[in-house]
Symmetry: C2
Subunit: 130 residues, 2 copies
DNA sequence: TTTAATTCCTACCGTTTTGGTAGGATTTCC
DNA sequence: GGAAATCCTACCAAAACGGTAGGAATTAAA
């Protein structure tokens, strides 16, 4: 029931990219986050694969948002970064579970996604999360 | 961002105890859950420490609910079983964090607790979780 | 065309957490 | 006293977490 630091870094990076127009390299992101660029590359690769971030290779390359910040919902971001760990419990993911608690986990899972999908990256970068 | 199997077992056990009037031993619970009684003892000890379950030692002993099922909120249960892993992210737990995402995690944390506290053990054992 | 800057790919690795197992001490009923 | 139960402590294997390392591939600019 914890958010991984990978996810935390991911959101930090995104809120940094949200105020940039030019691509930002992993090394630059290392400077402002204090996290090694090698590790950030991994995080950024996930965000790139899922289409939230666009990676530009080569000199003067780097990472930039694929869409405007108000079109990026945190549910998409967190689900990508937490990878297959967002099902809360296998029981809910698999069909046909009849254990008495499965409805609780389903409710919790839906609620979490609803909260995250209700917040955009723009909300975060502008400090407008209530 | 996953519920541990310890927590899953805990809720399963509780919904079993909810329909019993006499104390139920760990060995009996092993029969209906398929989980080793030794491991269930650990889970039950946590629930006992937190005051949700009452343990009776000695022959004819076992575990029973400390209160009626409609007075047991799942928030209390899940927070106990997930132990110190319910802060979602350290950043939120510690004071003075100013990273732009901290409000998101706080909102998520509060939302999760609100969902869990809105469901009682009675709701679960009667299948009334919507 | 070379060079420097950058992402991408693969592999590895130490630490912590998870999910148990094992054995025995202690308590309590009969 | 014996049986049935919880409680306590220690241990352990596997997985996840949080990185590190090295180099290949790509690209812009000199």
């Amino acid at each position: 029931m914890k958010i991984s630091s990978k996810t935390h870094y991911g959101v930090q990076i995104l809120s940094f990219l949200a105020v940039k127009t030019q691509p930002v390299s992993a090394k630059e992101l290392e400077k402002c986050t204090g996290v090694s660029s090698k590790y950030l590359e991994k995080v950024l690769k996930i965000l790139s694969d899922v289409g939230v971030v666009t990676a530009t290779r080569g000199a003067n390359g780097g990472y930039s948002l694929s869409r405007s910040a108000d079109e990026i919902r945190m549910g998409e971001v967190v689900r990508a970064l937490e990878e297959d760990n967002m099902e809360i419990i296998d029981c809910v993911a698999k069909q046909g579970c009849c254990c008495p608690s499965s409805k609780l986990w389903k409710k919790l899972f839906d609620g979490i996604n609803q909260i995250l999908d209700g917040v955009t990256l723009k909300d975060i970068s502008e400090g407008k999360v209530i």
